[in-house]
């Protein structure tokens, strides 16, 4: 991971995670009334750990190797029909996730624009 692409790499990998989470949340909403359905989600802890390993832990390639995983959320309590989806919470988690996705996109865009200007020689 060179200095030039440093910022990119984390933001790009974050987009993988936010995309995966968007899919998981949409699946939950689609199964909101299905009996027995337990909600799934994507944890971002693995990404934070991979960044730490890459930077301070000296494990090169940790960031490139980490991938998002959708898992059943064990802390979500099932209701009377075994379904653990709370419609409003899924909506709101979707909103939060979309904002994070947008933030990463803006970051990448601003870096790209900077590079383009530098290459062109014009701000």
């Amino acid at each position: 991971m060179s200095d030039l692409t440093r910022g990119f790499d984390v933001a790009a990998k974050l987009l993988d995670f936010t995309s995966a989470r968007a899919r998981a949340l949409a699946t939950n909403i689609a199964h909101a009334s299905q009996p027995g359905w337990r909600r799934v989600d994507v944890e971002f802890g693995a990404l934070l750990e991979a960044v730490r390993l890459e930077r301070d832990g000296g494990r090169k390639g940790a960031l490139a190797r980490v991938e998002p995983e959708a898992r059943i959320d064990e802390s979500a309590l099932p209701g009377s029909n075994g379904n653990s989806v709370d419609f409003e919470r899924e909506q709101v988690q979707s909103d939060k996730n979309a904002l994070l996705h947008q933030l990463a996109t803006e970051f990448i865009n601003s870096k790209l624009n900077g590079l383009r200007s530098a290459i062109r020689g014009q701000a």
Binding site: V10, L103, A104, S110
Partner: protein, 97 residues
């Protein structure tokens, strides 16, 4: 490329010479390297703010965005200064007979 006033370049050079002789007088060379350092620091700062917010929830969104915006503006300013200096150098080398 914008046409450059030669007298401006001359005064800049005189300032630079005085700067080398004098103490802590602002010189274009020093200011440019200061600007380079500032730009680099702001880029790193914006990157850290982004990662801290996105991965650990530290800070607020508007702070991250303002840091990114400032880093962008400083970088564009750096490009402009570099362009002006390049223009000045080109003009100057044409003057050498």
């Amino acid at each position: 490329m914008s046409p450059l006033d030669v007298s401006q370049v001359r005064s800049l050079l005189e300032q630079a010479q005085q700067g080398v002789k004098g103490q802590a007088t602002p010189s274009p060379a020093r200011e440019f390297s200061d600007l380079l350092a500032e730009t680099s620091a702001q880029q790193k700062g914006a990157e850290k703010a982004f990662e801290d917010y996105a991965l650990s929830g530290k800070g607020e969104l508007h702070d991250v965005m303002t840091q990114m915006a400032k880093a962008d503006v400083t970088f564009k300013f750096l490009l402009e200064v570099r362009n002006k200096l390049t223009d000045a150098w080109t003009e100057l080398s044409r003057l050498q007979v």
